[in-house]
Amino acid sequence: MLKRLLGTIPVIFGVLLLTFVLVHSIPGDPVEVMLGESATSADREVLRQNLGLDEPLPIQFFQYVAKVAQGDLGVSIHSKKPIVDLLAERLPATIKLAALALMIAISIGVPLGIVAALKVDRWADNLATVLSLTVSAMPHFWLGPLLMMVFALWLGLLPVSGMDANTSIILPALTLGFGLAAILTRMTRASMLEVLHEDFIRTARAKGLPEKIVILKHALRAALLPIVTVLGLQLGSLLAGTVITETVFAWDGIGRLLVESIEKRDYPVTQACVLVIALTYVFVNLLTDIIYTRIDPRVRFSS
């Protein structure tokens, strides 16, 4: 466990280095690019100093790491506000969206995967496979508008976009959730199929346990392990998916902040968004590993 914790330190360091390199890979003078041609030379000098661009690169990197460690992510060029405040403003919306999407994905993906595994090669299984393959081939910027077209424009059941109504969250959450549900369905199916051949399932059936208990208590519990791993890894794609989905549905979260900052060439904000999303992902994976050892005693005792 300690080894796993220490192992994330070089990764975090690398993430910082890569996000640092990011802003320095702007072609030409970054100050020129960010402020545009109409800026005065005084403005430029202020920004140059703010970004620490007049220092040698290693010192700049050191300053960047020190600032991030203190929770200082710099100042937005566009709104002049501290970036930490901007992120704090937007973070709750993204977390709400991701959490609902995750719930949707689990409540569709896991049951569908179980049914597919129990009815292997029958019509229910085939339907689940075709569905999950099709949805997997639909990027968020296509699935999103499609749901919007059907549920908002044609049926008029839900708001098209924005976040004014309580029901506004449903369409973006479905968009994000369906993609993950497709992966979960395939994963659950494969994992259940493997477990259902195990001896302990035969034993459970032989001693006359009701099929419901055999499936839900004995099989699912063992099949859950690889599913948790995949879920941890896929939570990252969920975070990355918010960038497009929030843009499609005008949902004011971190993803939309990132896209807006790109459009305004507000690169310190871009850098901060990328950094925060990557660090969240690193911690989610760490958390997944810890949960993994909790539900699988074998991992806990072998390491």
Binding site: V11, L22, I26, A240, I262
Partner: protein
């Protein structure tokens, strides 16, 4: 019936190639036909500037396939080479490389590609560069893992004791045995690249107007979804057919070549 993925893939390659040979004027504006529905001479209708959707779709397919081709060639070469070196030498080299790939994998999905494409500036070449910078990791990890176990195989040790050079061992004795899993990886990665290219151009980071790309067309299509649903449907279904075909092709290759994930 089983062969539909390869048929769909070749149809797209063929159609995109054909459209490149005969200029269908994908950028020609016709103000009388703004958002026209599909009709006789305009099979898929027209977009918001009265440009025909079908030639633009094919032009977008060319962009998409070109990006997939270039990025796959570059990233597969770089990733496989690094993976072979890492798996063959092990030790410090291996640890360093794995540490670097760990950092790249800490950025979920196409987040890093979006960030690089954004700072490099919009445009097709920068989009390709951004995808190259971020897509080599999968190849490197897979090759390294396979090479690591391959290193202990008898035929590799035999070649070594006969004095074969390191590049010879890597490329003649190890690489051919890695071909099957790498081919499957490459197929899945290509499907991912189609989506990645479309995502970046959806965000305005790809090829610039007036030239067509599927991502940019989808963005425009969404804007006119209420009055001209045929626009967004045509682009979305095209994208979906290509991605689905390549993904299913990957599944089929995996089963055929007996590759385990």
């Amino acid at each position: 019936m089983k062969r539909w993925p390869i048929v769909v893939l070749f149809l797209w390659i063929f159609a995109a190639g054909l459209a490149a040979l005969i200029d269908l004027k994908p950028n020609q504006i016709n103000l009388d036909l703004i958002l026209a529905m599909p009709q006789n001479h305009h099979w898929l209708g027209c977009d918001d500037l009265g440009r025909e959707i079908l030639p633009r779709l094919l032009s977008g397919a060319q962009v998409s396939l070109w990006v997939v081709l270039v990025v796959t060639l570059v990233t597969a070469t770089v990733g496989i080479s690094l993976g072979l070196i890492s798996g063959y030498y092990g030790g410090m080299v291996d640890r360093t490389l794995m540490q670097i790939t760990d950092v790249f994998l800490a950025f979920p999905g196409i987040l890093l590609a979006i960030a690089f494409a954004a700072v490099l500036g919009a445009g097709l070449n920068n989009l390709i560069l951004a995808l190259c910078l971020t897509s080599w990791v999968g190849y490197a990890r897979l090759t390294r893992a396979q090479a690591l176990s391959m290193r202990q195989r008898q035929h590799v040790m035999a070649a070594e004791s006969l004095g074969a050079s390191v590049p010879r061992i890597m490329f003649k004795h190890m690489l051919p045995l890695l071909a099957a899993p790498l081919l499957v990886e490459a197929t899945y990665s290509m499907a991912g690249l189609v989506i990645a290219e479309a995502s970046l151009s959806f965000l305005g980071l790809g090829i610039q107007a007036p030239n067509a790309s599927w991502g940019a067309m989808l963005r425009d299509g969404v804007r006119y979804m209420l009055v001209a649903p045929h626009y967004v449907l045509a682009v979305g279904l095209s994208l979906m057919s290509l991605v689905l075909a390549v993904n299913v092709l990957g599944d089929q290759l995996r089963d055929r070549l007996d590759v385990r994930n």
